[in-house]
């Protein structure tokens, strides 16, 4: 159990990034947030290995390398594949969900329309990971 987790938040939409950050702040969390605008950037951060996150949150629809492509790369890395990755997306598409679970994800969260619903969901996710034992790199 860690008081302070570090999240890698992969999202190209800056308002979404803002939403996540604001939600954590509003909920009073002080977790560390690493940001990446797409899969490529995220892999760069991860491969430097200076600071590895405890949990990865990522969107599916992103420019350059999308979420699924990033997941594939991540799961091919013998080291990074153990970092739990959670999809946060607007897509309730069955195929997306299936593909994601096939590649090995730790969760699939659909972004609700309402901001307050979003905050509630984020709270639950963070709470969940806070009660989990996570691998420390």
């Amino acid at each position: 159990m860690l008081e302070n987790l570090s999240f890698l938040f992969i999202e190209d939409d800056e308002i979404e990034v803002l939403k996540f950050k604001k939600s954590l702040k509003k909920l009073g969390f002080t977790h560390r947030i690493l940001e990446a605008k797409n899969g490529e950037e995220a892999l760069d951060i991860l491969r430097k290995k200076q600071e590895l996150p405890n949990v990865i949150l990522l969107d599916l629809n992103m420019p350059k390398m999308n979420g699924l492509e990033f997941l594939k790369e991540l799961k091919e890395d013998s080291h990074l594949r153990y970092i739990p990755a959670i999809i946060v997306t607007t897509s309730n598409n069955h195929q997306d969900m299936l593909e994601s679970y096939k590649l090995g994800i730790a969760g699939y969260i659909i972004k609700p329309l309402r901001y307050e619903d979003y905050i509630k969901k984020i709270q639950r996710v963070v709470d969940y990971w806070m009660v989990n034992e996570v691998i420390e790199f």
Binding site: I15, E16, K19, T89, S91, Y115
Partner: protein, 687 residues
């Protein structure tokens, strides 16, 4: 006139000469007669002396042919005895020899005797015997003929063997002379006799061939083999041999022969004669050669679909197998109106397989150009007599040129020239025509194959395109929904932040406006979800077939949907289990039931599901006691985005999805409705 006199004079001369000849003959005959008569008269006196002692049959007959005397030998020969019966010699004559006998008898009367009369007679027991008779007349003192006497010798045996021998000889001669095989009899390998066929074949006369050494007639190539075989025959190793050799004719041409030689040995076993049978196999050989060429070409064409590859095979195989000096294949270039060399026997090629110093012939020019233009093959025995011929580097005296035609159009020409006249034959022409046909068939097949491959790949491409566009369509709905939904979430967040940040300055009316704004966002979100659901109804990727219990579905719906207290939701216990995709069936009922619930305006509402089983369908109905739907809208409601209320409660997608799902299961939907009283939707799903 002058001619007429000359002719008459000539006729007169001829007549005179004939008369002279006749007189001469008559004279000679008379003197012969006299001599014979003298000789006979001396004999008549002698006959009694040896009559009884004679061993040969002896007969005396009167002038009417009645036998008046015969010795024992005669009785034995003829089987008749005059002591027992009368005999007339006329009755003894073999019918076919009757005329000959009568003539001989006349001679006897006329000349007094005949000798070496040979004819057949019948014996008493109807045996046929060949006899030789020497006869003479018997005169009385007055010189009158009183009888004839004859010595009859039985020659049946010798006659028969003689006939056999003669006949055999004749037969043999006939065989030898009429044989189509050349027959040569040689002694010490020098010709002593030949037959007609051989003389004809070699063009020398029998006289010319006499004494000629056999080797002088054939080409050297086979001499060694021939000699060694002959030596083996001399050394009694073999009695017979055969070999293939080439003979020279008198006119300088040659022919290929299969020669069989048999040794004829003398009593000591030494070779006395060599008997050779010579068969001209040139034609056979040529036919076989051509057939082989055609066969090897056919084989080499297999798998070659390109005219260039085929052309090289033609050029090389025909030239090599048929001993052509060259063989060139041209392709018609329609745009430039020329013939372009694409292959040539012995032609040099560069690294790209392009011919170095390629030949080009304008359409219509020369024999090749002419053949290409007319589509008619040419066999030229002497190019110096053919005005079409164009001298290139040097004149070649014979040429053969055959067009390759596909569907009546000349696409190429096979051509060969030869330095000597009369080199190419009709057989060559026939062969090249066959080759051209073969090429035509092969190329037509190649073109068809290419077309088929093209068509197949086109089909494949179309299918791929269709797959791709199907996928693109799905991806499109997917991406669009994401791209549309994301801004809605952002707007909602931004509104929230705005409300939070300006909480102290925003009055109730402002917040109400923000609520309405959020409401619209929700509507839009629902619309997007609806489109997504609609587009994915027949998405095969997520379509399953499972056992679906309608009762369970309805129970689930009861828990999912918000059903107000005043609305009663009823369905029978006895509902079927159908094979379908559970999500779709749930969507179907959920949409209809929620529609029904939403439109109930009565104090006591009721939504009821009913069911009947038909032979091929499951038939369901969902009825409510709501506001009802005017008949004018009964069709319209199933169209996408059509909604009858403007309260923003529905998206207008629900019934479209319902219809699409029902169509997916090959069913139909209809409705009965009375405005203000309620609506019943009936639908069937195929079993």
């Amino acid at each position: 006139m002058k001619e007429k006199i000359q002719a008459l004079e000539l006729a007169l001369q001829n007549e005179k000469r004939a008369r002279e000849k006749a007189e001469e003959l008559l004279l000679r005959r008379t003197s012969e007669l006299l001599e014979i008569r003298e000789a006979l008269s001396s004999k008549t006196h002698e006959y009694n002396v040896f009559f009884e002692n004679i061993l040969d049959s002896f007969i005396v007959m009167d002038t009417m042919g009645n036998v008046i005397k015969m010795n024992d030998a005669a009785v034995k020969l003829l089987g008749y005895d005059i002591k027992e019966e009368a005999i007339n010699v006329v009755n003894l004559i073999y019918s076919k020899d009757f005329e000959y006998a009568m003539n001989s008898f006349a001679t006897l009367i006329e000349e007094g005797s005949f000798s070496n009369y040979e004819a057949r007679i019948f014996t008493k027991n109807r045996e046929i015997k060949w006899v030789q008779i020497n006869a003479s007349l018997i005169y009385n003192e007055e010189g009158e003929i009183i009888a004839a006497q004859g010595i009859v010798r039985d020659i049946t045996e010798s006659k028969e063997t003689a006939v056999d021998f003669e006949e055999q000889q004749e037969q043999l001669a006939a065989i030898v002379d009429n044989s189509t095989l050349g027959i040569v009899l040689a002694q010490d390998r020098k010709i002593i006799k030949t037959n007609n066929a051989f003389q004809k074949l070699i063009q020398y006369s029998e006289q010319e061939l006499l004494g000629t050494p056999v080797e002088a007639l054939s080409y050297e190539d086979a001499h060694e083999e021939s000699r060694s075989l002959y030596n083996r025959m001399v050394s009694k190793e073999i009695d017979h041999y055969s070999l293939t050799e080439k003979y020279k004719r008198k006119d300088g041409t040659s022919f290929l022969s299969k020669t069989s030689v048999t040794g004829v040995r003398d009593s000591e076993g030494k070779i006395k004669y060599q008997l050779a049978f010579v068969e001209d196999v040139s034609v056979k050989h040529k036919r076989r050669l051509m057939l082989n060429t055609l066969n090897s070409l056919t084989r080499s064409f297999i798998g070659k679909l390109n005219i260039h590859d085929i052309a090289w095979e033609i050029a090389n195989v025909t030239a090599r197998d048929l001993e052509f000096e060259d063989c060139v294949v041209y392709l018609v270039n329609k745009e430039e109106n020329i013939l372009e060399q694409i292959a040539g026997y012995g032609a040099k090629v560069d690294e790209n397989k392009e011919i170095i110093d390629k030949l080009y012939i304008p359409f219509g020019k020369g024999i090749v150009g002419n053949v290409a233009q007319t589509g008619k093959a040419a066999l030229v025995h002497d190019t110096s007599k053919d005005e079409r011929y164009v001298v290139d580097d040097m004149r070649r005296y014979s040429e053969i040129s055959v067009p390759i035609t596909i569907k009546g159009e000349v696409v190429g020409v096979i051509d060969s020239e030869h330095s000597s006249k009369n080199f190419f034959t009709k057989e060559h022409l026939r062969l090249l025509k066959n080759v051209a046909n073969l090429v035509s068939i092969q190329l037509t097949n190649a073109v068809n194959l290419e077309r088929r491959i093209a068509a197949e790949s086109e089909n494949k491409e179309l299918l791929e395109n269709l797959k791709r566009s199907n996928k693109e369509l799905r991806d499109f709905a997917h991406i669009v929904s994401h791209d549309l939904k994301s801004p809605l979430r952002s707007i909602n967040a931004l509104i929230s932040w705005f409300q939070e940040d300006y909480e102290h300055v925003l009055d109730e009316e402002a917040n109400d406006t923000f609520d309405k704004l959020n409401n619209k966002l929700e509507q839009m979100d629902a619309l997007i979800d609806g489109i997504l659901r609609y587009s994915s109804v027949n998405d095969k990727n997520i379509l399953t077939v499972q056992e679906v219990s309608i009762k369970e579905i309805l129970e689930e719906i009861r828990t999912i949907l918000y059903i107000p207290e005043h609305i009663e939701f009823i369905f029978p216990e006895d509902l079927p289990v159908i094979a379908a995709d559970k999500t779709r069936i749930k969507q179907l009922f959920q949409n209809l039931i929620s529609n029904a619930i939403v439109h109930i305006d009565k104090e006591k509402g009721r939504v009821e599901v009913q069911y009947t089983e038909l032979k091929n369908y499951w038939k369901f109905s969902v009825s409510d006691n709501g506001i009802g739907i005017a008949e004018a809208y009964h069709d319209k409601i199933f169209k996408i985005f059509q909604t009858l209320d403007n309260k923003g409660k529905s998206t207008g997608i629900g019934l479209s999805i319902v219809k699409k799902i029902i169509e997916l299961y090959k069913g139909t939907i209809s409705l009965e409705s009375e405005e203000g009283k309620g609506t019943t939707f009936f639908f069937k799903l195929k079993k």
